[in-house]
C-alpha cells in the first residue's frame, strides 16, 4: 500500500542539491518525481523558496508538462501510445485490453498503487507500433498475449518488492 505521507527529509535532500539555480527547476522536479513517485503539492513552496521563484510559477511549470504529476502514481506507469502509426496498427484495441486487464480507465491509478494507466500522443517508436512504455522500458509490436505477459511480469516483480 503506497503511503501518502511525504518523506520530508528525502525531499529536503533532493532540493539541497539543486538550490540557487533558477534553471534547475525542471531537473529538480524530475528528480522529485523519480524519487518520490510524484510531486507533492505541499512541496511546491519549499521548492520555490529554494530556487527563488514564486510558488505559483513552480506550479505553472508542473501543470504545463503532462509528464509531471501532483498525485501519487502507481509503482508501474504504463503509457500506451495513441499516435498515428500505433492507431493504424490497432493501438486502440491494445488500450482496451490493458484497460480490462488492469481494470483502470485512462489516467487512473489502481487502489493498491501498483499501476497507473496513461496514454501518450506519440512515443516516437513508430517502427514498433503498436507500442507502450512501462516506466522507462519500451514494449513494441504488441498483441493481447504479449500485453498480458508483460503486465504479468510486472505484477510478479512488484509483488516481490
Amino acid at each position: 500500500m503506497k503511503s501518502t505521507e511525504i518523506d520530508w527529509e528525502k525531499l529536503a535532500d533532493i532540493i539541497e542539491t539543486h538550490t540557487q539555480k533558477k534553471w534547475g527547476l525542471i531537473p529538480l522536479l524530475q528528480k522529485v518525481q523519480e524519487r518520490i513517485g510524484y510531486i507533492p503539492p505541499e512541496s511546491i513552496e519549499a521548492i520555490a523558496a529554494a530556487l527563488g521563484l514564486y510558488p505559483s510559477q513552480v506550479q505553472g511549470v508542473i501543470t504545463f508538462y503532462a509528464g509531471f504529476s501532483t498525485e501519487p502514481r502507481g509503482k508501474c506507469v504504463l503509457k500506451v501510445c495513441r499516435g498515428t502509426a500505433c492507431h493504424v496498427k490497432g493501438g486502440k484495441s491494445i488500450l482496451r485490453v490493458i484497460q480490462k486487464d488492469l481494470d483502470l480507465e485512462e489516467g487512473e491509478t489502481s487502489p493498491d498503487y501498483q499501476f497507473t494507466l496513461e496514454t501518450a500522443a506519440c512515443l516516437g517508436a513508430c517502427f514498433l507500433a503498436p507500442a507502450m512504455m512501462v516506466d522507462r522500458e519500451y514494449y513494441g509490436k504488441l498483441n493481447p498475449t504479449k500485453v498480458g505477459s508483460v503486465i504479468g511480469e510486472y505484477r510478479k516483480q512488484k509483488g516481490e518488492d
Binding site: 510558488p55 510559477q57 506550479q59
Partner: protein, 900 residues
Amino acid sequence: METISLTINGNKISCPEGQSILEAAEAHDIKIPKLCYHHSLKPFGACRLCLVEDEKTGKLYASCVTPAAPDMVIHTHSPQIIKHRRNIVLLMMAEHPESCIVCNKGNRCHLRLIAAELGIGENALYPMPNFAPLEQANPFITRDLSKCILCGKCIRADHELVCAGAIDYNSRGFNSRPVTLHELPLEQSSCTFCGTCVSICPTGALSAKVDFVGTPEKESTSICGFCGVGCSLDLGVAGNKVVDVNPSHLKNSVNDATLCVRGHFAHDFLNSEKRLTHPLIRHEDELVPTTWDDALESAATRILEIKKQHGPDSIGFLGSSKCSNEENYLFQKIARTLIQTNNVDNGGYTSGRLFLDLVDQRTDKAGRFNFFAGPLAGIEQAEVVFVLGAEPAHTAPVFDYYLKRSARKGLPLIVASHRETDLARDAASWIHPHGSSAAAHRTIDTFYLELINLISARLLTGEAVDSSFISRFTSGFEHYKEDLLSLDQEACMTKADLNSETISKAIDLLAGKKITFVVGDGLMLQRYGKEAMEALLNLALMTGSIGYNGAGFHVMSKENNLVGAWDMGTVPETLPGRLMIDSENDRRRWEEIWEAEIPKSRGLDLIQMVKSAEEGRLKALYIMGENPLRSLPQPDFILNSLKSLELIVAQDILCGETVEIADLVLPAAAFSEKAGSFTNMEGKIQCFSAAVPPPGQAKSDLEILGLLAEKLGAPGYKSNNEEIRKEISSTITSFSDAAACKHPIWIREETQTDESLVEEQIRFSPVTSSQDTERGDQYPFIALFGSLRFHLGSGTRTEQSARISDCDVKGEIEVSPTDAEKMSLVDSDRIRIRSAAGEIERDIRVNRTIEAGYIYIPTAFNSNDARNLLRLEPLLENDSSGWNSCPVSIEKAETAAVDK
C-alpha cells in the same frame, strides 16, 4: 546611443537604438493595435495584434518584440496585416462568451474596441466558449476567467510590478488560465488585493467589485488621500459620486500602473452614510443641525471669549496631516495671527513627524545637502538598502514594490525587524532577535540602538569610512571613533539578542557602500527611538551616505500630507518653511508677510494639549481632520480631558468618535471634493483638483477656514489656492513651482554636495547605549503593534469602506506556534490581552513568522481597540516606552457570542 531612421506608413521617423518598432511608432503618434503590451511591463508578444509588415522582405513582425532596424519600411495597416488581425480577433471572439451586452467592462473593453475598429461582425467560426466558474467571494475583485484572452498582463504585473507572485499560468493550450497556488481563491493566496491586475486587464475578465454598472461618466485625476506615497489616481465619477478608482495614466507618477488595496478599493468611504453633511451645534446635550453662518459665528464668538477670559494659550489648534498644504497653512496662520497662540499641532505626531524634525534639524542649514534620500525611484540606483523597523508592504505598499523590484534585480536588502515581515523574505540578510527568552524581556527597547551601534563599530574597523566626506563636512569624528572603539561589542550582541553570522553577512553587504536607510515606526516609536535615529545619522555621516543618488534616509511618512503639514508649520515649534519660532529673524520673515506679531515661545504639542486640557489650563480645542479619541492611547483619559474643555470645534468629513463629543461640528470636504496640494514622503508637492462636489452642505476646509477668519475679524485672509500659494512662495521660494500646478518637484534636486559652500560642519552626536530594564513577571509577553494594509492609521476612514469591512481579515492577533501549543490555543480562539494600561479581547491566528514571547496586534481593527493597551506618553523622551510595543499578559477568553 545611436539613432536609427526607419519608415512607418510612409512617414520617415527616427528613434534610439534598441527601441522596438511599436515603441518607435507610439513615440510618433502612429497607432498600432495591441492587447498584451504595456509600457511598464517587459514585452511579451502574446496577442500578435501588433503585427506589422516589412515591405522589403514581406515578413510579418510582432512590433512589440521586434527591435527597430535601420532603413526598415514598415506598414501597420496593410491588407495582409488587417486580414491577420481580423483572424486573431475572430479566434479570440470564438472562445469568448457572447455576453458583451451585459458585461460591465462595456466600452472600456480593449478587445471590443479593436473588434469594432476592424469592423468585425458575424463570426463564422464555431463558438467554443471556455467557461470557468465565476470567482467573487472576496469583496474586492471579481474574476470571470471565461473572458480571459491570455494576454498575461495580470501575471506580468503581479510578478514584475508588485512582486507578489500570487498567480501564474496553469496548464497549456485551451485549458490554460492564470491561477493561484493550488487554485485557491485569491483571499487564500499571497494576493494583496492591490488591484493592479484589474486596472491592467484589457477585457472584463478581472473587474473591481463596484456597485456601479457600466463606464463612469468621466475620469478625474487626483492624488490619493491615504498614505505618504501620494499615488496618482484616476477617479471614475458618475452622478457626482466617485464610483471607481484606477491608477492614473500620467507618465512619471510615483505609482505608475500600481496601487494598493486602500488606494484602489477603500475609496467607497467617500460615499458612506456617516459623511457629515450639515453644520451641527450642541443644544441640550444633542447635536442639532444649524446654518453655516450660525455655526461659524458661534465658533468665532466663543473662541474670542475664551481668549479674552483665559488668554490666547488656553486655546489649542489640532490640524491635519491629511488636509492639504494650503489648508494647513491657513490653519496655523489663523492660530498664530488671530488667536496669538503657538499651540498648533497635527495628527502626524503619532506617525513619525518628530523624526522628520529630528533629521531635518541635523541637516545642514546652508542647504548643501539633505539627509533625505528624495525620490523613491532613487532606490533603483541604490547600492544597498537597510530597512529598520519598517514594514512598507502594509504601511506604504507602493514603496514596497520599489524595494522588491530592485531586490529582484540584485539590490542587497538588509532588513532588521522583530518578526519575519514580507520584506524579510526577499532580504539578502534578515536581522532579528533570536528568541533567547531572557533577552526577550529587554530586546524591544534595546534592539535597534544596540544593533546600529554594533554595526557602526564593525564598519569602522572594517574601513567602511568615507574619510574625505568626513574631513570636508563633519566635525567630531575623532570623538565618535573613540566611543565606537570602546564599545563593548559582546554586550551589544547580547542586549539585542543577535546572531554573529547574520551580523557578519550584513557587514559584508554594507561595507564600502553608500547606504540607503528606510526607517519605520518599529524603530521610531520605541523607547530608544531618538537615540537609534541619532546613531543612524552618525552612521550615514561616517559612510558618507548622503548626497549621492539613492543614498540617504527614507523616513516612512505614513500619511498623505504628513510632510506637508509639517512644512506648512502646523506644529508648535516651527513656522511654514520649517523656520524656527524661537529665532527672531525667522519670525520676522513671516511677521512681515502676515503683518502681525507671532508669539515668541514654542506652543504645546498634541500630547501636551491633551494633558493641559485635563489639568484645566487648556479651555478650547479646534480640531481639523483628526480623530484623537480614536487614535490616541488611554481613550478614557482623552475623553475626560476633552470633556473638561469649554469648547470643542470639530471640522471633519465623517461622524467619528471625536465628532460625537464636539460642541460644534463643521462638515468638510474629502480630498476628491476639493483642490489643493499634498507633499508626499519624497518631499514632492502634488496638486490635485476636485472630481466631485462635497456632499450636502459640506465645504472644503480651506473655504471653512476663510469664513472662520472672517468671523474672527480678518476678512482679508486669502482662502483660495492660487493666492495662498503666492503668499507661501514669497518666503519659501521653492514652493513657487507649486503655483504652476504641474506636479513640480520640491525635493532639493542638487543631491550632489556642493563643495564650494563649506561653512558649518555637521557634528557627530555622542554614542549612547541603552539601559537594561528588567520587567516583572506580571506581563511576560511583548505585544508588537503595527498596521495591516487594509487600514490606515486609526481606521476612521477605512472602517467606513464597505469592501474593507467585508473582507476576511479581522485583525487577528498573531501568536507563535510554540506559545499557542503551550497555551492550547488554535486559530480563531479568543484571548484576553492585558497590559498595565488596559485590556482587549480578540481572536488569534497562529503564525510562524512571530517568535515565542511576542504577539503581534494589528491596529485600527475593532474601532482601534489596540490603543487601550498603550500609555499616552510623549515620544522622543528618554523614559517614554513608546507606542510600538508594550509588555502584556495573555489568557484564553470565553468565546464571545457570535457577532460580526
